[in-house]
């Protein structure tokens, strides 16, 4: 187990290094001069030059990268070009909101996706199976801002069951989490259906049924334990899937998370923030996958010793 973990951690470090190189490179390919953006429209060329020098933008890209990485190693993600605040502070103040939203979203997607998939698998090729799959497809394809606005209009404005956006209580988290949950639950129902369909064809299931075990026990105990493996791996990948959804949902619901921060930073070409958020998202994905790997290996010894 220790060797397995150490290997994974070593890989992760390389992945993150790769992420910083690619993001940094891409951001400096954008044909926009941050110094000119900061200097504003009334600035003289000398002012722009002086700002460029102070930000170190007049150095070569490898030098700038080395400097960035050096600071990063010391925990310094730099300061925002526009807000002048520390990027680490900006992210830290918003991260809890995003994590809360993601946890709630994972809850909803499993709550909806898993039962739907299992239900469909046990009624394979029957109309109810097809109906579930059609709904999954609609969910996966629906634009999140449309789903979000629709939920707000019906449940918050018309029925007045939930607050109209915002952050704070448990009631605030329901609609944004549901928006993310509904749109991603489709993946889970499809995944759990196909996984369950495979498992239900196995010999040991036939044996269990032949022993006279009740059908619900066959499916929920014998079947699910094996069918769940790909689902666990998928939760790890989820965080990556959320990276785009979070930006949209946070904007619609006024959720003060890092998606909102990233969206604003992109509009203002605030490179230190874009770098910081990308890095934090990458760390999240890496940790998510790591946790999924660990969980899988705990559930299934074959993975651990494989």
């Amino acid at each position: 187990m220790f060797r397995f973990l150490a290997g994974r951690l070593f890989q992760s470090a390389f992945i993150l290094l790769g992420v910083t190189i690619i993001t940094f490179g891409l951001l400096y390919l954008i044909p926009v001069d941050p110094a000119r953006m900061i200097a504003g429209r009334s600035a003289t060329p000398q002012t722009v030059e002086s700002i460029r020098h102070q930000l170190g933008l007049d150095r070569s890209i490898p030098v700038q990268y080395a400097r960035y990485l050096g600071n990063l190693m010391q925990g310094d993600m730099g300061r925002s070009y526009v807000q002048k605040a520390r990027v680490s502070e900006l992210i830290a103040s918003r991260l809890p909101a995003t994590l809360q939203l993601m946890a709630a979203a994972i809850f909803f997607e499993l709550l909806i996706g898993l039962p739907a998939g299992i239900f469909a698998a046990t009624r394979r090729n029957r109309p109810s199976d097809k109906a579930v799959m059609v709904f999954s497809f609609v969910g996966v394809s629906a634009p999140q801002f449309v789903v979000g606005l629709l939920l707000i209009y019906v449940f918050a404005y018309q029925l007045e069951l939930f607050p109209l956006g915002g952050y704070g209580t448990i009631w605030h988290v329901v609609l944004p989490a549901l928006t993310l949950g509904v749109t991603i639950a489709g993946w889970y129902s499809r995944m759990s259906r196909s996984s369950m369909v495979d498992v239900l064809r196995q010999d040991y299931i036939r044996t269990a049924r032949a022993k006279g075990v009740t059908e619900s026990r066959v499916v929920l105990v014998h079947g699910l334990r094996n069918a769940i493996l790909p689902i666990v791996a998928m939760i790890g990948i989820d965080i990556g899937l959320y990276a785009q959804g979070i930006v949209v949902v946070e904007a619609v619901f006024g959720w003060p998370g890092i998606g909102q921060l990233a969206w604003l930073a992109i509009q203002r070409i605030d490179i230190p923030i874009i770098m910081g958020v990308t890095l934090v998202a990458a760390v999240g994905i890496v940790i998510g996958n790591l946790l999924a790997d660990i969980a899988t290996s705990l559930i299934d010894p074959r993975v651990r010793h494989g």
Partner: protein
């Protein structure tokens, strides 16, 4: 001779006018929503339309504007004198003005604050506005640590020496970049001063939860008796404009900071339930197409005039649901110097074709039209494309991200550029602000905002002459020369002025105030200091 302006009187009258009607009382609260979080409250740094007006409520400058107008009045100054040669400005400070930290404002604060904006280390986007103060070049280039032109002879006097007369100078000391900040707080917070603002303004910032809300509370020590009205303003940020509209209808929100969402606009304006809640006001804004005067075929004046006649502006107004009026000159109607008698180029495709033929393009030509890629700009660009096709000009639309379009304009690679989404909104209400950076030779440099690369030396000289007319009795003659300058520019036709945006502010029924405070040309979306809550006991 030295002219003295008695000024507190004007301010007092302006205030009395407000207090007298409908008897608004001090107290109450207001909720304003914004889509984007606030970037900063540092007056030397903040330069977007959202924080611009909020900073004005937290800080003050030597001069300000009479609420609801573009008329200058003294603010932190009590009075001022201008020497006959227009080079020396002497401001007498108002006595007993206190910063939010309790310290009394002194003349050295004024000097420090302006110098801070000029100091290259501050990286202030407002640095260039102070070019006329003696010693600017030395300080801006980092050779000097102070502006030799600003002196403080005694405890309540600031003297500013200019290197050349500038009629806009009083506007300059009224812009945010010149607002007074206390040195000790700036040094205490360093780069985080923008999140911990301390000024002399009508409101103090008492809370800022990133991405959620900012709270302003009434400054009880504010130097203007009886102002402001509201005890508390809460800015809720990160609010989607459509959701904010729903919240306003339910009474949770009082003012839509981002305005009425375009998709709901016609419906809301037509709704009788919203009567008295929607206020229409002009902006100091003009939307225009720039024609690159340094590149064929737009180096030919006849071609530029032809394009001016080819565009059907009425159709553009329909595309934006009537939220604009037709423009025929660079200046917007609310700007001093706007020429009401100027007719401009009428829409006349026949005449346009004739001019093109005269210029040597009887069959038209092919060109490119740059536009920003957010709605409604691509649709507007398509309308231009059709209009141009009707006179034989084949324009290919380059619909790109804002920063990329600005870059193409600045570098001069865009033959035609539609300014929508990046158009000029005035920094201060004076006609010269629509010239220098966007039509003058100074802006026609790589990276400059003069996207037409228009540089007419003769007009540049006229502009310099007009801005040299700094004496008060020359004010009218000066505005008149500006009027003539813009008419001359329109003869050269480096732009097609298309429209002036009209702003529609929406507020809840419980918030009151004269309409002009919801459509103030300087304070957007509302004049935070003069609106009041009707439900105060």
């Amino acid at each position: 001779m030295v002219r003295l302006f008695a000024t507190t009187v004007i301010a007092a009258v302006a205030l009395a006018g407000v207090t007298a009607q409908a008897g608004p009382k001090q107290g109450g609260a207001m909720v304003v929503t914004y889509k984007d979080d606030i970037s900063t409250f540092d007056p030397a740094i903040g330069y977007d339309w959202q924080n611009w007006s909020m900073i004005k409520s937290l800080f003050d400058g030597l001069m300000d504007y009479k609420p609801g107008t573009t008329e200058l009045i003294p603010d932190l100054a009590e009075s001022y004198t201008i020497s006959d040669d227009g080079l020396t400005y002497t401001f007498k400070l108002r006595q007993g003005v206190k910063f939010h930290n309790g310290r009394t404002l002194t003349p050295t604060d004024i000097k420090y604050s302006i110098e801070r904006s000029v100091d290259p280390k501050t990286q202030s986007p407002g640095q260039g506005f102070f070019w006329q103060i003696a010693g600017f070049d030395e300080m801006a280039s980092g050779k000097a640590t102070e502006l030799s032109g600003i002196t403080t002879p005694d405890d309540h006097t600031v003297v500013i020496q200019l290197s050349q007369p500038d009629a806009t100078f009083l506007q300059i000391v009224a812009i945010n970049f010149a607002f007074a900040v206390p040195r000790e707080e700036v040094e205490k917070y360093g780069l985080d001063f923008g999140r911990n603002p301390v000024g002399t303004g009508a409101y103090r910032m008492t809370e800022w939860s990133l991405g959620q809300r900012v709270v302003f509370e009434r400054n009880t020590d504010y130097f203007r008796e009886g102002a402001p009205f509201l005890d508390k303003i809460t800015f809720e940020v990160g609010q989607d404009p459509s959701v904010a509209l729903l919240r306003l209808k339910r009474g949770e929100v009082d003012v839509l900071g981002d305005g009425i969402p375009p998709a709901n606009f016609l419906q809301e304006v037509a709704d009788p339930a919203n009567k008295g809640m929607i206020v229409e006001g002009g902006l100091l804004h003009t939307g225009y197409i720039t024609l690159n005067t340094t590149k064929a075929p737009f180096d030919n004046k006849l071609v530029r005039q032809a394009v001016n006649m080819a565009i059907n502006k009425e159709r553009i107004i329909r595309i934006v649901n009537g939220r604009a009026s037709i423009a025929n000159q660079p200046l917007p109607p609310a700007m001093p110097g706007y020429d009401t008698s100027y007719k401009g180029y009428a829409f006349d495709p026949g005449k346009a074709k004739q001019l093109l033929a005269e210029a040597g393009y009887p069959d038209g030509f092919a060109t490119e039209l740059y536009a920003m890629n957010t709605d409604p700009n691509p649709r507007i660009a398509q309308a231009f494309q059709q209009d141009l096709a009707a006179v034989g000009i084949k324009a290919e639309i380059k619909s790109l991200a804002q920063a990329t379009v600005i870059d193409a304009g600045g570098e001069g690679t865009a033959p035609m550029l539609w300014s929508g989404g990046m158009a000029w909104i005035a920094d201060y209400p004076d006609p010269s602000n629509f010239y220098g950076p966007i039509l003058g030779c100074g802006g026609a440099v790589p990276g400059g905002w003069n996207w037409a690369k228009y540089c007419n030396k003769e007009i540049d000289a006229l502009a310099a002459k007009a801005d040299g007319m700094a004496a008060a009795d020359q004010a009218e003659a000066r505005i008149d020369s500006w009027r003539q300058i813009y008419n001359k520019i329109m003869d050269d036709a480096p732009w097609v002025p298309v429209m002036n945006e009209v702003r529609f502010a929406m507020h809840s029924a419980r918030i009151g105030g004269k309409d002009i405070f919801f459509a103030d040309p300087i304070h957007i979306p509302v004049h935070y200091e003069y609106v009041y809550a009707k439900d105060v006991e």
